[in-house]
């Protein structure tokens, strides 16, 4: 299950040439999620895997307080798919990291990553970390005892892969093709987003009834914030005492304030990667809000975060052609 030979040797050379101090990748775990690991020596590279089952979010470990406390890990090589290079661009544009601190191993022709929840929903009997390969429109799950299942790719991949427009990495210092050049890679992306459209179709009372039942279940464990590569403030306002934006009591009003403030601090930055939804231990549909805001921002201001590493922040600039809120309201 370890890395393909070419990539394995390239990563080891990076150590040799002193270009990087560590390599960040994912190792297989018992459940179909994989675990981020930091290889500080060439030998440790051998444990990494490129399996579509092991795609935890690696970038959160570049900007976290942990990374700031351990500067020796930089410069660091990270395996990044197209969507992850988009997140990297956004981080660079916010000076969260300097470009020279990161050696980007771009994973090209990305056919998509498997969503562990969708996999365990379709294969509840699955135990351990099977071997999974994506061939054409199907995902083939194999065990030692042979083929376990063939499932449709669009049903199994992460939500962000279903809307993917970056199958190729935007930036990279080294490019590695996950799958040989194939024309079938493109069609996985679908336009319509049933979740967001379903809510858009509702009237306000229905919407609130839906979100009320979701936000009541939040246990305020901060997993959504801590899983986000763009949430790396020193003293996050969601936990700040003076001034206190969100009180510590766990109830509907504070949970709603928590999520609203978090989303408003990500508007124009978030690349709708869905990590917050995946990290949530009580399965709150946070991805809906993020995708809604990403669509809104694209529709109203033509802004897609993470495409330009030196781009301006959406809410720090304005454009005379903005469809003025008041004009619309006064129609």
């Amino acid at each position: 299950m370890s890395l393909p030979q070419v990539l394995d040797r390239h990563l080891r050379d990076l150590f040799g040439s002193g270009r990087v101090n560590s390599v960040l990748g994912a190792i297989p775990t018992r459940g179909p999620l994989g675990m981020a690991q930091l290889a500080r020596t060439p030998e440790e590279v051998e444990r990494f895997t490129l399996s579509p089952l092991a795609c935890p979010n690696l970038l959160v470990h570049l900007t976290s307080k942990e990374a700031r406390l351990d500067p020796t890990r930089f410069p660091l090589a990270v395996l990044a798919r197209g969507c992850e290079t988009r997140m990297l661009n956004q981080i660079f544009s916010e000076h969260g990291l300097r470009r020279d601190q990161v050696y980007v191993v771009g994973l090209a022709h990305c056919p998509g990553a498997i969503d562990p929840r969708r996999l365990s929903a379709q294969l509840p009997v699955l135990r351990g970390f099977p071997e999974a390969t994506i061939e054409g429109e199907e995902v083939v799950i194999r065990e030692e005892s042979g083929e376990l299942a063939r499932l449709a790719r669009t049903e199994l991949v992460l939500e962000r892969c279903r809307h993917c427009q970056n199958h190729e990495p935007l930036i990279d210092d080294y490019r590695f093709d996950l799958v040989e050049e194939a024309d079938w890679i493109e069609p996985v992306s679908v336009d319509e987003d049933p979740g967001v459209e379903a809510i858009d179709a509702m009237i306000p009372i229905e919407r609130w009834a839906y979100w009320r039942s979701q936000l009541e279940r939040c246990i305020r464990c901060h997993a959504c914030r801590d899983a986000c590569p763009l949430c790396y403030c020193e003293n996050c306002i969601l936990e700040r005492h003076t001034p206190c934006w969100v009180k510590r009591s766990v109830n509907l009003p504070e949970n709603t304030a928590y999520q609203l403030l978090r989303v408003m601090h990500l508007v124009g930055r978030c690349t709708a990667c869905g990590e917050c939804e995946r990290a949530c231990p009580v399965d709150l549909p946070l991805g809906l809000m993020m995708r809604k805001m990403e669509n809104l921002v694209r529709e109203y201001y033509g802004h897609r975060s993470g495409l330009d590493p030196s781009g301006e922040h959406l809410l720090s600039i304005f454009d005379p052609r903005d469809t003025t809120a008041t004009a619309r309201l006064e129609q």
């Binding site: 009320r212 508007v267 809000m289 809604k292």
Partner: protein
């Protein structure tokens, strides 16, 4: 006075207004010097510019019992600090859509341009907002209960 029991009595909407010091606040003062009258449901907070209004303030206002929020600044192009109002526009638009997405009626957050000379327009803005928010009913979604 607890939020809870204010809502039981006959419903008078509580509106919090963030007015920019140079235009909207001066417009409100002008409405005063002209002795216009408008409903007392609005409570004003003076800020130097509508660009200072943080989306978090709007959320805090709803949490603390407001039924509607007005953000009023200078007309586009007339901002005393050049483009504070244009920045406020993007922030309020995105916030309105986010609130709308989770079920808060968009009419509860009102962004308006009132210049220092528009006392009458300010009074009308207050009246229409109070009527609209009264029509929507009290803000039941996520007000903070007394501890």
């Amino acid at each position: 006075m607890l939020i809870g029991d204010r809502k039981q009595q006959s419903y008078e909407p509580r509106i919090v207004a963030f007015l920019c010091n140079w235009c909207a606040y001066a417009g409100a003062d002008l409405a005063g010097t002209q002795r216009l009258s408008y409903p007392p449901n609005v409570r004003v907070i003076r800020l130097m510019c509508s660009g200072r209004v943080d989306p978090g303030f709007i959320i805090e206002a709803f949490l603390e019992g407001a039924d509607g929020v007005i953000v009023a600044g200078c007309h586009p192009g007339e901002c005393h600090y050049e483009h504070g109002n244009r920045l406020a526009e993007r922030r309020m638009t995105t916030l309105q859509h986010l609130l709308g997405f989770i079920g808060i009626e968009q009419a509860r957050v009102r962004l308006a341009w009132v210049s220092a000379a528009e006392g009458r327009k300010f009074a009308q803005l207050i009246e229409t907002t109070v009527e609209e928010v009264r029509a929507l009913g009290p803000f039941q979604q996520f007000p903070r209960r007394a501890p």
